[in-house]
């Protein structure tokens, strides 16, 4: 994968997302060791500190766990956690955008809910 350096999304976020994708695709399975910060830095041609930051995010979200002196490992149920998180985050963000747009277009709440119902039926 090539990082999008021009993107306004910070590199460490991109690294975290990439790792999540790898977990979703099951290229890293539960309790399997993931890349170290140096391997990631080499892989993506980025500063090791940035890579470490990406890993830290995932550790904080308990998707990865640390073993002292051994490295980072995929937590059990990581895939489910990621999917859960993505669902929440992406959907929430999309809904927020929809609500904002509706507000600008003076669409009422009821009308909006109606629209959602219609879409669901079509699909």
């Amino acid at each position: 994968m090539i990082l999008n350096t021009d993107s306004t999304k910070p590199i460490y976020v991109q690294i975290a997302e990439w790792l999540e994708n790898e977990v979703i695709a099951e290229r890293f399975k539960d309790d399997e060791k993931v890349y170290s910060q140096y391997q990631l830095a080499d892989l993506f041609n980025i500063n090791p500190a940035t890579a470490a930051k990406g890993l830290t995010i995932l550790v904080e979200e308990k998707i990865l766990y640390k073993k002292r002196g051994l490295g980072m490992f995929v937590a059990p149920e990581a895939k489910t956690m990621i999917l859960e998180k993505r669902r929440n985050e992406t959907l929430t963000k999309m809904v927020k955008d929809i609500v904002l747009e509706a507000k600008r277009l003076s669409v009422t709440k009821e009308e909006l809910i109606q629209l959602i119902h219609n879409c669901e039926e079509e699909i």
Binding site: T5, T8, Y38, N45, A49, T50, L100, K103
Partner: protein, 295 residues
């Protein structure tokens, strides 16, 4: 221990101030980008740190010692720039051969492999090299010293695109294998951005920002919208840059803060900026940039 510790360092050149009250610390084993516009004082600062020139006032410490005329600092630091010279009577090969006597951590194997990779002619003289080849050789020299403080001043000047990316890759890989403090100056941040951990932004001889790359990225945001709206949203904010897009709309760069969330809800288009854009806006002379000239 801090690798570099500068306290209120000033330096002037024939009545113009090159550096004014530079204060910053550099902790060990980080790649730091020294960013600034042309003439911001990057080169002067690097030369002071390398002990090549003397500052006028303030205190400079490298490895806890004043670098000017200090043997230990000279031994553990190197400044790679395009003014580096080597005796004309020596071939490039011989220059590389004479280095281990000076630099205890010199990696002969590494140097010769880089040398071969970049297809330099071992029998050539340094002064006869083209600008790009000279920069390449200096870079090889600088990396191979493995100095605890390795400084590059616009290292890629004259290098072609392929060599540039090879250089950055080599720098990073060598840094991963042998972590050390690297200070790399550039006026072109976007190119080296991903290598960096920290950014030291200087402007007109002063330190403007010294933060991690991500903090710099989040330092400012751009707000765009109708003039009245934008002005309302940014009341009380520190405006870094503003530009009229057309008769009705305005583009403003302000310091990032949480109050802007409200503006977003009200329909403001708020964009995050790339680190290089932040640096550019922070160091621009006028609030409106080049457009002011055409008013």
């Amino acid at each position: 221990m801090n690798v570099i510790d500068c306290q209120k360092v000033s330096k002037d050149f024939r009545r113009t101030n090159a550096l004014e009250d530079i204060t910053f610390q550099l902790t060990e084993q980080k790649i730091t980008g020294l960013i600034g516009r042309n003439g911001a004082g990057k080169t002067t600062l690097l030369k002071i740190l390398a002990g090549l020139t003397k500052h006028r006032s303030g205190e400079v410490n490298v490895f806890g010692k004043s670098p000017y005329n200090n043997l230990m600092v000279s031994e553990n630091s190197i400044l790679v720039d395009d003014q580096m010279t080597f005796p004309d009577s020596l071939t490039l090969e011989e220059v590389l051969q004479s280095a281990p006597a000076f630099y205890k951590r010199w990696d002969t194997e590494f140097a010769s492999r880089l040398f071969q990779y970049f297809k330099l002619n071992p029998k050539q003289q340094h002064s006869k090299l083209s600008k790009g080849a000279k920069a390449t050789f200096n870079m090889i020299f600088g990396l191979s010293t493995r100095c605890e403080l390795t400084m590059f001043d616009e290292p890629t000047n004259g290098m072609d695109e392929a060599v540039r990316s090879d250089f950055y890759r080599a720098l990073l890989k060598d840094y991963i294998a042998h972590p050390r403090s690297i200070l790399i100056s550039s006026h072109h941040l976007a190119e080296i951005e991903q290598l960096l951990e920290d950014i030291l932004l200087i402007h007109k001889g002063r330190v403007v920002l010294h933060q991690s790359l991500d903090e710099v990225k989040e330092y400012a945001v751009a707000v765009q919208g109708l003039i009245a709206d934008v002005e309302r949203w940014t009341v009380g904010e520190e405006i870094i840059h503003s530009k009229r897009i057309d008769d009705q709309r305005l583009y403003v760069v302000v310091k990032n803060n949480s109050k802007l969330e409200r503006a977003r809800i009200e329909g403001a288009s708020i964009q995050t900026l790339a680190a290089s854009e932040v640096c550019m806006y922070v160091t621009s002379e006028t609030k409106g940039g080049i457009d002011d000239v055409f008013k």
